[in-house]
Symmetry: C2
Subunit: 290 residues, 2 copies
Amino acid sequence: MIIDKLYEEVQKKGCVCVGLDTAPEYLPESLIKENGTIGQAIFEFNRRIIDATHDVAGCFKVQIAYYESMGMEGLEAYKKTLAYLREKGGVTIADIKRGDIAKTAEMYAKAHFSGDFEVDMVTLVPYMGMDSFLPYLPYVKNEEKGMFILVRTSNPGSKDFQYIKNTNGITLYDTVGGCVQNLGSDFMGTCGYSSIGAVIGGTSSEEASSIRTSLNQTFFLIPGYGAQGGKASDIALYLKNGNGGVVNSSRGILLAYRKADNEAHFEDAARQEVVRMREEIARECQLLCK
Amino acid sequence: MIIDKLYEEVQKKGCVCVGLDTAPEYLPESLIKENGTIGQAIFEFNRRIIDATHDVAGCFKVQIAYYESMGMEGLEAYKKTLAYLREKGGVTIADIKRGDIAKTAEMYAKAHFSGDFEVDMVTLVPYMGMDSFLPYLPYVKNEEKGMFILVRTSNPGSKDFQYIKNTNGITLYDTVGGCVQNLGSDFMGTCGYSSIGAVIGGTSSEEASSIRTSLNQTFFLIPGYGAQGGKASDIALYLKNGNGGVVNSSRGILLAYRKADNEAHFEDAARQEVVRMREEIARECQLLCK
């Protein structure tokens, strides 16, 4: 089960998920000049970030939208980034947020669990219903793949639908969360979590303990740290002894070099930020355990 | 407004949306032999289908998952197919079902409303909330683009979440539908519909008249005809005088040549199926108007 590998990576390296949401405007100018094309520069940027952080990051998450926005050239950089991550051997999540059914979902599963864009885990959207996920399950069972299903996000609009209560007073996100955990019970790792995880935004800490308690076998992918307003003390509540999820940061890591004024060695600044973030969150987790 | 162009196309050519969900196994063997690569064969298949149907189809919908599943080669065929459709001048919908927020949604909007993968309209998913759609709106306003937001789908799993009733007895799909229509009111065409449409599965006809009445300014993209069990008589209920939506068929059209046993001229069989489907639905619409 891929979740055991992810759990182990987090155990060894910490809970930080390095988000490679690499936009051209994030690149140091010198890097663009040194490389023939923007696509090549983006790959080179990612490669140096990966090299500098893979021993202190629990996993990597690549946001496909950034690459899609650059058309074929961007997707070539995406493909090369994923191949490089495979070489490094850690766990890679493709943040694709796909959500479709039947043969179309089969095609998405094939697209992201094999071939040019192969990764270990993907993010998926539940709106169409639980049958959306069926075509991915053979890969989870037989090929060490996994997924994170959107349950509760941290954007302001999450209130629009995810917080709607049904006639029994249960929110949509709780209903979805229950279905996700239920689906996951057939794909449990030895670590106590399943390979069917949930995306849970790292804000709204007042809901954290009930979410963590009810989804006790579900590993979390937690966005929202830093740029989106999630504090380490909030996020610790979702982590359960420090290893119940991974915490994504993208711009905070990729652009750390600007704060550090260290364009030439942007990867060093990225590494320092990963280590800082990891320690900050670990500290908060320890405080909770006391 | 793009919706006026789509409305006009449907007025002239009928409500059939040709779904180019082109899987390699759909291609006639002879076509594969004639073309150097599968990617080339897929484009060639699409090109001939487009040529044979563009004067009898209201629009085209390209399901990106099928192309994504073939990696870079598939996406090259996707890009070429879209370029060919642009040349032909009709309305093209990319069935991408993306759903994300903030900068990521901005990236998806850029990806599919400009550059290599430019189309007229895209499909989007509402789970993350109404702020998911904001980055697309400048394109709707200024660049003749539009979208169809998933409201109620026709798969069995649609019942899992879309039919959940809130404390006032309103289903999630009705809540989403209301938000979609509301958003659309700022992007109205002269045809009486807005450029913010809805995906409404063509089954569950008992709900059709209330959906059609409440979403009276919302144009529908209707999947589920044929292969997925939607009958023309059901679908007519969603169309409102025959021009309130487009009805997608993919396999029914692409694989018509097998039924007709006419591999050499697969595009003729496709055209005949589009015309047959168009007339079948038009007949049902006329019956309703009587």
